[in-house]
């Protein structure tokens, strides 16, 4: 096989970002994508919609087949890359192939984090991070009555909600005092939790599984909780989070920290090797340091930036921005940027407005006259306008701040020049 100009390991959204990034610059040279999963690239978050029965499998694919054809991308699916030789610039797959590359992107995503719980080894304990997991749970749901989900974060709640939609009695366990502790604050979590409880899910905070109980045949019987309770269940889903899937990189001598270390151009320590997505530890827009922020948009953006750089343009990554949008039975929630500033740090100014009846909540976090994060629950329509202030790091003058607090951010609050460059570029008044 000839040297491939572009090879991408992983077939997730970072990979699609990279393809689109490369094609912005180079419309000719072939791209090879190698993915361990055997399905075409799908919307990973869609697996909860699939499990809930809201969409069918035909809606999973992110891009139509013709996208790959038109973009001159060949794929090797169901193929796992086992090693990278950074010196020889080759990779080898589980199918025994060795492929020489000029530019390589490692976009291997994350793997579910499974804490050591006694009894976790064995049948009927699942994760919920890929299509196969969803498919297993779909068939399982037909036979079972009860399920316990460990983890009250975004994925855990989504898994719980989806199983519940399949008619399963679901209990969600969250070790911290509230659900959604990372991306949301107490008020938002209370509204979301309230909505889940209203529908009939059991959410228990401050407890987790101490042990998974099995009978002598190894069949799952239930879960012992840290507070002494015992929950009967037929299925346990562990959804505590994902950790960067960097072993492949690490084993081949590429520098890793919490994730694969990348520079401003998404380049790893190895020549011609880039990394993007959940596996990468890249610059954070707000903090400036390098972090792993395993969310969709960052994966795409990092892939896009890596792709452009792989194709020879010199583009700096603008930085990751934490953002989540998730709905709980029709109650939409959005969180962007820093939403839980360190307690006692008075450089932050927080403005909240809560209407429990309307299930509406708004929290704005300002630092040094800049909006650095926000949470919206219920009334989310102006989200993008807030995002602009976080993302473009525009100063927020006092009157604008008031307007924002009233829930009315708008483009006319932007600095004049920036407004013109964005909305009416190249326009000059004749006189």
């Amino acid at each position: 096989m000839a040297i491939m100009k572009y090879v991408i390991i992983g077939n997730g959204i970072a990979s699609i970002g990279a393809i689109e990034g490369i094609r912005k610059v180079d419309t000719e040279n072939e791209i090879l994508v190698i993915g361990a999963e055997d399905s075409p690239a799908y919307g990973r978050p869609l697996i909860s919609y699939l499990l809930a029965g809201k969409i069918g499998p035909e809606r999973l694919a992110l891009r139509p087949q013709e996208f790959y054809e038109k973009s001159n991308v060949s794929t090797k699916l169901g193929t796992t890359v086992e090693a990278i030789d950074t010196k020889a610039k080759t990779i080898s797959t589980d199918k025994g192939e060795t492929i020489e590359f000029e530019n390589l992107l490692i976009a291997t995503g994350g793997i579910p984090f499974t804490p050591p719980i006694p009894g976790a080894e064995g049948s009927d304990v699942y994760n919920f991070t890929n299509l196969a997991h969803a498919q297993t749970l779909i068939s399982k749901a037909k036979e079972i009555k009860r399920a316990v989900v460990i983890g009250g974060g975004l994925i855990g709640l989504k898994a719980g909600e989806s199983l519940f939609d399949r008619g399963v009695d679901v209990t969600i366990l969250e070790l911290s005092p509230r659900i959604l502790s990372l991306a949301f604050d107490e008020n938002a979590a209370a509204l979301a939790g309230g909505r889940l409880a209203e529908v009939g899910l059991n959410v228990r905070c401050g407890v987790t599984a101490k042990e998974i109980q099995r009978d002598s045949d190894g069949n799952l019987k239930g879960v012992h909780l840290t507070d002494g309770d015992f929950l009967q269940t037929e299925v346990v889903v562990i959804a505590i989070g994902v950790v960067p899937n960097y072993s492949l990189a690490k084993d081949s001598g590429i520098s890793v920290d919490r994730g694969i270390k990348v520079d401003d151009h998404m380049k790893t320590s190895a020549d011609g090797v880039f990394a993007a997505g959940d596996v990468a530890q890249a610059k954070d827009l707000l903090f400036g340091d390098d972090r792993v922020i395993p969310i969709w948009t960052n994966a795409y953006n990092q892939g896009f930036c890596a792709g452009k750089n792989m194709a020879g343009t010199d583009i700096e990554f603008t930085g990751s921005l934490a953002m989540n949008s998730i709905s709980f039975y029709g109650l939409p929630t959005i969180s962007v940027g820093t939403v839980n500033p360190p307690e006692g740090d008075d450089s932050f100014e927080i403005a909240t407005s809560l209407d429990e009846k309307k299930k509406s909540y708004r929290k704005l976090v300002f630092q040094n006259d800049h909006l650095v994060g926000y949470v919206l629950v219920g009334d989310i329509d102006m989200a993008g306008m807030y995002t602009a202030f976080v993302k473009f790091q525009m100063a927020v003058p006092e009157d604008a701040k008031k307007q924002m607090m009233a829930g009315e951010p708008d483009v006319l609050m932007w600095p004049d020049d920036f407004f013109k460059d964005t909305w009416n570029p190249g326009h000059v008044e004749q006189d």
């Binding site: 959204i13 970002g17 689109e20 094609r23 912005k24 919307g43 990973r44 978050p45 869609l46 919609y49 809201k54 969409i55 809606r59 694919a61 992110l62 891009r63 038109k70 969709w296 948009t297 795409y300 953006n301 896009f304 953002m323 949008s325 998730i326 709905s327 939409p332 959005i334 962007v336 989310i380 329509d381 102006m382 989200a383 993008g384 306008m385 995002t387 602009a388 993302k391 473009f392 951010p409 708008d410 483009v411 006319l412 609050m413 407004f419 964005t422 909305w423 009416n424 570029p425 190249g426 326009h427 008044e429």
Partner: protein, 148 residues
């Protein structure tokens, strides 16, 4: 590519562009029916939104960005960039209503459909003869549809 450029110096805040957009995307193609019936019944709404602050107004809608944040955020493949026309296209069949794009688009150009779990976003009136309805309706040339 041709885009719609709003001029805040001359937008008079009449909101006619919103009405035109709504009509252009209505079943009846008739403003009165669209506004009186389809708006309430089908949640017909405008992709354009007029903002006002003091004496300044501006009507905005999707910019059809070169490198759109909404596409990066879309988890369903419902938003993508048409490499030929440059339009940021929306496929409502694929959309699952996760509101990721609404959150990610820093131009506030995406809104929720009032009755369906779908979004409302400018399509540059691609199907319409004579180009964008909002531009055609603007009485003060505060919207320009041109190559820049």
């Amino acid at each position: 590519m041709k885009r719609v450029y709003p001029d805040k110096e001359y937008c008079i805040g009449c909101h006619l562009c919103e009405l035109a957009c709504m009509t252009a995307h209505s079943k009846s193609q008739d403003l009165i029916v669209a506004y009186r019936e389809e708006r309430g019944k089908d949640g017909l709404s405008s992709c354009k939104k007029v903002f006002e602050k003091g004496h300044t107004c501006v009507a905005i809608s999707c910019r059809h960005c070169d490198e759109p944040s909404c596409v990066a955020a879309c988890i369903s493949g419902g938003l993508h960039k048409d490499p030929e026309t440059g339009h940021t296209l929306y496929d409502r069949e694929k959309c699952v209503g996760c509101w990721s794009c609404l959150m990610a688009c820093p131009y506030g150009a995406i809104r929720r459909h009032p009755t369906e779990g779908k979004i409302v976003k400018c399509d540059l009136c691609a199907e319409r003869e004579g180009g964008p309805a909002c531009v055609a309706a603007c009485p003060n040339a505060a919207l320009k549809y041109e190559e820049r």
